[in-house]
Structure formats: C-alpha cells, structure tokens
C-alpha cells in the first residue's frame, strides 16, 4: 500500500501541474464539474436548539447532493439533523421540500428524500475513496457562506486523517480525506469530487484558524451508512463499552499486534465480562485485529460495531504474558446525544442520559436525565438549576428517563402543585433544587426577580463551588 503510493504520487503531482497551467487540466475540471453539478443541492433546514432552556428554531445553510433519480439526497447530520423542516434548492433553482430519512451522528451523515414524484432527477455518481491518492486534484462543490452553486479546487492532502473520538463530535468509525480545496461554513454536506466527476467524499469540517485544511468523509465509509439509514432510518451498531487506543500508545514494537484497551465503561458489557484497561485485544471472533497507529483504529472499532447486536462475541485478549478468550454479549450503541424535550412551564430543557454522560458523572446507573438548558427568568433559573445538572428524582421518586419524567411533569402540572423537589447531581455533589411553581400564573417577573436575587447571593463569585465544604 505504502509502496504503491510512492509510485503514484509523482503522477498525481504531474496532473496537478498541468491543472495550474491550464490546458487539459482545466478541461478536466470543467468536465468533472459539469458531470456532478446538476445533482448539487442547496439545503436550508430549520433546526431546533434546546441549549437556552427553551425550544428555539433557527435556520442553517448547507449543501448536499442527489444520489438517486427518485430524490434521495445526502448531506451532513450537523446540517439536517434535529430539523423540523428542510428546504432544498436544486441546481436548476427548483425549490423542493425534503423529509429527513435518517441521520447518523457518529459519521455526521444525513439522508433526505425530496418530496417529488419525479424519478429522473440527476444523481451524482459515487466513486471509490479507496483509490484516491494524496496530490490528486479534487473539487469541492456547495454553498460556502450560503453562496450556492460554488466550486473550489484543490488536491487531496491526506487520505486517512484520524480526527478521533474526543470532543463534542466524536468520529470513531472513519478516517477523513484532508484537502486544501477551500471549504467554508455552508459547504457542509456538499460533494468532494475527482476529475472523473465522481463523488469521493462529503465535505464536512475545516480546521479553524488554519488555511485550507478541510476534511471530507470518504465515500466508501459513507456508502454503507447511507444504505443503513435508508433501510433502518439509523445505523445500528454494537457496543461493548470499551475505549481503544493504538498499539503505539504503549509500545512502538511492530511485532506487538492488536489494539489497546484504554478505558472500560463500568456499566458496559465489557466491564461485566472482565475487561481491564491495559488489555490488548488481538482477535475478535477468531479474526486478528490490529491498530498500530491511530488512523488504524476506525477499522477495528467498526469491526466491533458490525458485530451482531445482542449476540455473544469472543474477544481474544492478551493480559501481560497470558492470552485468554473473553465472551461478551454486545449491546446496541446509543446515540451520543440523547433526545431533548422542552419543559416550558418549569423553564428548562432536558435530554436522556447517554453512556458517556453516565460515565463522566460517575452515576451508579443510567437512570435520570440531564438538564440541557435553563431559560433565564423562569422558576428553574430561580431554583438554581443549571445546564449539565443531572436530575435523579422528582418529589422523592426516582426517574428512569425522559419519558418517565414527562409523565411526572404532566401529572404535577395537572395537580397544580406549588412546590416540586428535584434531586440533582452536579459533579461530585448532590443538591436539592426546589422549584417554586405558581400555578395559573406565567413565569412572572415578580417570582423570578425575587429568587434570582437569592440565587446571586448563593453563587460563589467564580460560580464553581456551589456550597461550602466543611
């Protein structure tokens, strides 16, 4: 693989050289553009946000491309996810609404279906991202800063950049095509194409503060996700509750093969099966796995994700000098962001817990919900409730999830109770947060003003230490 790259790289460079001089390169660019651009879609979803403590709608602009004559469109999850409606403008300026077929946050892919009866829409041809080479000329098409029908040109900078599973948008299951073709906000979801006019990637991210460092999801990774979304509405994946690191995190010895267990979720199936950090997984169901470098990780992670959900799998694990087989029954991987709901009468929004939140908050179980936002001037704000608080019980009764909380919420509102007590976990501390409801009244200025003052009293100036520890 690496040897062949050495051979091909000069060819790619020569091609790029031709392109800058005009001539055949320019024709190739125009040909490629002409082939793909009829499938280009400018996308304007109306999205929902819950971060301010109330459900708010806002409009974003992004890009996408038609992949089938009957109107399936691919874009990014961060463009069309959490949206209430999606408006699309096709290349011929036709404005057509679309429905969201499904999304996958882990790969940042969404599939839309245009609401048309037509079956002759211009579909882009999907290429093969396994065949691309650094230095190869690529085009990025989309709507940078909302400027639809834009095209920019560059080369593939790296074919297998690993952006990791840390941070707010983990991407464990794919590496990325890095390109210097200009990608700006609004390009998201648009196609990255080769000079044959084939889609080789979905433009998704850029490195802010850098010049022309953009990232596209390789089409080979996308193809399977798109298929699963069309079939299931989402991508079912297996989960065992293990975070993995490349072998070089422990040793640079190339003879050491496998993947390092870096962390084990205490509530996951792997913990129950006896996995421990430092273990090295060398095979899954008898087939060897190996991730020497971090960009090798997605292949292994995907191997685990592709295991049948709810079925036993055998992991061959090396611990010190010993090798053992560990049987694990996989679970379905949950979304890394729980469903969000607004509780307008009380002035906050909340989301279901995810394993990551449960682990970070060190909860004994996955029961409860997390406050997504607190609206200013409401009873929730007055009580001292904060974004990120984990609600464990209402009026002394434990709650399992958002749906159960919704039932309690409706019942309490129907009963017109004046006071509601929430048991809340905030970091290592627990607190009682009393909501002072005023049945029949709006969340008035009087009540809010009175208690907000109290709250300000209570705040430590840096807002970090809610209580006195003595």
């Amino acid at each position: 693989m690496r040897a062949s790259m050495k051979w091909l790289a000069p060819l790619a460079l020569a091609a790029a050289g031709c392109a800058t001089m005009g001539g055949p390169g320019e024709h190739a660019v125009i040909r490629a553009k002409n082939k793909v651009i009829p499938s280009l879609v400018h996308i304007r979803p109306v999205k929902e946000s819950f971060a301010s403590g109330q459900k708010q709608e806002y409009v974003v602009e992004g890009s996408g491309f038609i992949i089938s004559p009957d109107g399936y469109v691919v874009t990014n999850e961060h463009v069309a996810g959490d949206s209430t409606q999606v408006r699309c403008v096709l290349y011929n300026r036709d404005e057509i609404d679309a429905e969201v077929v499904g999304t996958d946050r882990y790969t940042d892919i969404a599939v839309l279906k245009l609401k048309v009866d037509e079956t002759q829409l211009p579909a882009a041809e999907l290429g093969h991202s396994a065949h691309i080479e650094p230095g190869q000329t690529v085009l990025a098409l989309g709507s940078p800063h909302g400027l639809s029908r834009s095209i920019s040109k560059g080369i593939v900078s790296v074919t297998d950049r690993y952006l990791g599973e840390e941070g707010p948008r983990p991407a464990p299951y794919n590496t990325w095509i890095q390109t210097d073709a200009a990608i700006n906000p609004g390009n998201s979801g648009g196609p990255l194409v080769n000079l044959k006019g084939e889609v080789i990637g979905i433009n998704t991210r850029k490195l802010s503060g850098a010049d022309n460092v953009g990232f596209a999801i390789p089409v080979n990774a996308a193809r399977e996700v798109i298929g699963a979304i069309i079939e299931h509405g989402h991508v079912p994946r297996s989960w065992i509750g293990v975070r993995m690191q490349e072998m070089t995190s422990k040793t640079d010895d190339p003879s050491q093969r496998g993947v390092v267990v870096a962390d084990v979720d205490p509530l996951g199936p792997a913990a129950a099966a006896g996995f421990a950090p430092g273990d090295v997984i060398i095979a899954v169901n008898g087939e060897p796995v190996h991730a020497r470098f971090e960009e090798d990780l997605p292949v292994v992670l995907k191997r685990v994700a592709d295991l049948p959900i709810g079925s036993p799998a055998t992991f061959t694990v090396r611990r010190g000098e010993e090798t053992q087989d560990i049987a694990v029954v996989t679970m379905e991987e949950s979304d890394y962001k729980g469903e969000e709901v607004e509780f307008a009468e009380w002035g906050f929004t909340a989301a279901d817990l995810t394993p990551a939140i449960v682990q970070a908050a060190r909860l004994p179980s996955s029961r409860g919900l997390v406050i997504a936002g607190v609206e200013v001037g409401t009873v929730a704000a007055a009580s001292g409730l904060r974004q990120g608080d984990i609600v464990l019980s209402v009026d002394g009764q434990e709650i399992a999830n958002l749906a159960e909380f919704q039932e309690r919420y409706d019942a309490i509102n129907a009963a017109a109770n004046r006071l509601v007590l929430l048991d809340v976990k905030r970091g290592a501390l627990t607190r009682f947060e009393l909501l002072k409801l005023e049945p029949g009244a709006e969340n008035g200025d009087e009540a809010a003003g009175e208690v907000i003052l109290d709250e300000e009293d209570s705040e430590e100036p840096n807002g970090e230490q809610p209580d006195e520890d003595e």
Binding site: S249, A360, E455, Q465, D469
Partner: protein
C-alpha cells in the same frame, strides 16, 4: 498611637515626621485639593515600592517562569513591617529577591525584604524590612473603626508605573455598595489601577480606614481566594491582628487546626421547610456527605437538617447564611464530642460528632519534582477528588507541572492528568511514584507506558526516554 479625633493621627513617625491638622473636608464629601495635598505629604513616607521576583505559571504545562515585578507596600509598624496585596504570593511559590524602596528622590533608601507567611483569612501579604539594628521607620496607623457609608468618598494614595518613575499619585472614588453579610464588605465604584492595589484608603473624615483589596477571603464566602472582579476596601480590623502579631510559621502554626465535618450544605429556605413540613426557622440542609468524613462516621445523612451545632442554633434561610455554619465548624475544636441537633424526616434527633482536622488541600499537598522525565506531581487530596468527581478507586498522583521539552512533554502529558501506573508499577502515593520512577531509571527501558486518568477517561501515554 491611635486617636479617635477627627483629625486622624494616622502617621506615626519614628523619625518624627509631624503632621499638621488636616484642613477641613468639603461639605459634599469630596476632597479639596488642599486636603489631598496635605494628606499626600503626610502619607508619602509610609508608602514604599516592593521590587521582587515572582514565579508565573504556564497554563499549558504548569511550568513556572521567573518574572521581575513590583507592588505597592505600606509600612505598618515602626520596626519595618510592610503590608501589601495578596497577589505577591501565588500558589506555593514565595516571592524572592525582595527589595523595599522607601522614600522618594534624595530620601530614597533601599532595603532587603523578607517575606512572611501569608495569612489565610485575608488576601494580603507581609514583608519585613531588613533595616539596621534598632532602625525605626515611619508607619501608618489605621482607624480602629473602619466603617464607611454608601456613597462616601474615599481617597487613596498609590504609585504610578515605571515610565512615570513610580511617582506617588492620588485617586478618589466612592463606596458603591456596602454588603453586610457574612461580614461587612465595601465595594469601590470604579476600577483601580494596579499601583493602587493595597493602597491606603482615607475616608471623608480623614481617617485611614483600610486598604484597597481585590479578592474575597474565605470568611467572605469563598473557600479559596476568589477573584471578586471588583475593587474592595479591606477595613483595618480585618488585618489589625497581623500587624500586632506578624504572621510567621510559628504564629500561624500555633493556631488551632481547622476542623472538618465533611458535608456540603444548603440553607433550609422557608419554601423547603414548607415542602418538607418543617418549621420555617431555617437550618442547615445536608446535601452531600463526603465519603470517609466525620459526618459519615457520625451517621449524618443526606437530607438531614442541622438545627443546632455545639449548642449554637442554626437558622440559615439564605445561601449567604450557610457561611455561619462553615465558620463555626472551622473554629470548633478537633477531637471533642460535639452535640448536634438535627431533623431527619421531620423527627428531631440528637447525635454527637467528633470533628477531624481538615484534610490537606491541593494547595498544601505533598509535591514531588522528578527531573528525569520532567514531571512534578502532587498527592491526590480530598478537595481535588471532589472537584474532579473522581471515583474512590482512583488512586494516583496528579501531574502539577510538565517541564517544557521533557520526555513527559514529548509524550503529550499535561497538568491535571492523574498517573495511575508508571511503567509496570501501580502508583497510589507520592512515595510509590518516586519508587516507580527510580525502578524505571535503573532498568532504563526504551519506552515507558504510563496509565493515566484524564477527565472522565483513562488511557496511556508512552514515554520514550533517550538514556544516553
């Protein structure tokens, strides 16, 4: 030396710099130029400039770099005790190379200074001038009653910057807020230049009532020094005891140990009392019981309401009133059986609790500097465990600093990471870390995997020593 006279005799001079009666203050409470000039002339001899070397910490690596800096000082006793603002000492590093410049122009004289221990209840520092034996210095005397009124004008004397040759300057401001609880705090109405932090504050009656401060002390509601973001007046009674009895290792260590109960609490508001069907008399609601604490040992439970502690009724109804409980606990003796009255599910209960000494905080935690790999680590303390929400089973040492260019730095290690295993050796204490490092140094392996916790997750860093 103190006087209650309106014409405050606030400058004493061992050198007999006499003070004429101050001219009358203008009716409106502002200060007349003549008044300001006379005050400045009188106060100038007690203002000094502290030049010193401070250690500044890099946020990224936790490494410290030395920096020359300066502060305004105020001579507070004839034997050369100087008071300055608390920022002179940060974290564990004491300032060094202290030079005290007393007087101006031809009268300017420079002395060595020795840094004294920083008190923990007010954000000021003290420096002792190393004068000739028996040498006496002009010094300030504060009014014993430091009361200020809302809107009252105040006058401050400080120093200008280096480009202005550290000239003495005057500044007038007014009191914008008087906060009564948990102790009286005066807020100044506008920003204060750096050269006035620690400056003497003179009230409209011409008395020196305190100094300019910036940070709230624990008694004002913070466990640690917390930036209030607002200039304040530290009134004299807050620091008078340290002028009488300068803080040294001996004087501070002679104090009683700070007692610890190990709970987090919130007030029993009237609403909470109504909700639980309790009398609306206030109290201390236990919201969290720290594992392994005296409270846990005494059987205190989450949701208990303390109504009396060591005979003192607890009537907190507001968050700010919880501080009273905090203060009482701190000052209650260690090891004695303390009677506590509490309400549990509405039922009155009497229990006794034996407080222990407050666990060592991160600030005072044992630290170990390891030069080979470039790591400075600290023991994991209770406060860090709570702050980071660490599981009990997490035993290790926390990285405090990573030396730039070191093997640890090259491996991507950073401050805040908790080392759980160094090479093949489990690390739960500083001693174990030191032993592990020594064993690795003996074995000289080509690579050392270090198992760590960073935030909510664990993982490995690989050190690649170059032993030659």
């Amino acid at each position: 030396m103190r006087t209650n006279s309106l014409v405050a005799l606030w400058i004493v001079t061992g050198l007999a710099a006499g003070l004429a009666a101050a001219p009358a203050v203008e009716e409106a409470g502002a200060f007349s130029p003549a008044f300001i000039a006379s005050q400045q002339k009188a106060i100038a001899p007690v203002i000094c400039l502290l030049n010193f070397t401070a250690e500044v910490e890099s946020q990224r690596t936790g490494e410290t770099q030395k920096r020359s800096t300066r502060a305004l000082g105020l001579i507070v006793s004839p034997d050369g005790l100087v008071m300055t603002h608390g920022h002179m000492q940060s974290d564990k590093s004491d300032p060094s190379n202290i030079r005290v410049v007393v007087g101006e122009g031809e009268d300017e004289k420079e002395y060595d200074g020795v840094f004294l221990k920083k008190p923990d209840d007010i954000n000021v520092c003290f420096v002792r001038i190393q004068g000739e034996p028996g040498e006496r210095f002009p010094c300030v005397t504060f009014a014993s009653d430091g009361h200020l009124g809302l809107g009252e004008h105040i006058l401050m004397f400080g120093i200008m910057g280096e480009t202005l040759d550290f000239a003495r300057g005057a500044l007038t401001r007014a009191i914008s807020a008087v906060i009564e609880k948990p102790r009286t705090t005066y807020c100044i109405d506008d920003a204060i230049p750096f050269g006035y932090v620690g400056a003497p504050v003179i009230d409209s009656r011409g008395r020196i009532v305190g100094v300019v401060g910036y940070d709230l002390a624990p008694a004002e509601g913070g466990e640690l020094y917390v930036r209030s973001g607002h200039p304040l007046v530290y009134q004299a009674p807050l620091f008078a005891k340290y002028i009488q009895n300068p803080p040294t290792e001996d004087t501070l260590e002679a104090d009683q140990p700070i007692a610890w109960i190990g709970v987090f609490s919130q007030p029993l508001t009237d609403d909470l009392a109504e909700y639980w069907g309790l009398p609306k008399k206030g109290g201390v609601v236990i919201s969290t019981v720290v594992e392994g604490s005296p409270a846990e040992a005494a059987g205190i439970q989450r949701g208990d309401v303390i109504t009396s502690f060591d005979g003192t009724p607890m009537r907190a109804k507001k968050n700010s009133e919880i501080v009273g409980f905090t203060k009482l606990v701190r000052e209650t003796g260690v090891g004695r059986e303390i009677p506590v009255k509490l309400l549990r599910n509405g039922q009155a209960m009497d229990i006794t609790i034996v407080l222990t000494e407050r666990p060592v905080s991160a600030k005072d935690a044992e630290e170990f500097v390891e030069d080979t790999f470039g790591l400075t680590v600290r023991a994991l303390t209770t406060d860090v465990r709570i702050l980071l929400n660490l599981p009990d089973e997490t035993q290790g040492v926390i990285v405090r600093r990573v030396k730039s260019g070191s093997w640890a730095h090259l491996a991507g290690m950073r401050p805040g990471v908790i080392i759980l295993r160094f090479g093949e050796y489990p690390v739960t204490t500083i001693a174990e870390f030191e032993a592990a490092v020594n064993k690795v140094k003996e074995a000289r392996p080509a690579e050392v995997p270090v198992f760590c916790r960073a935030g909510a997750r664990t993982g490995f860093f690989r050190l690649q020593p170059r032993w030659e």
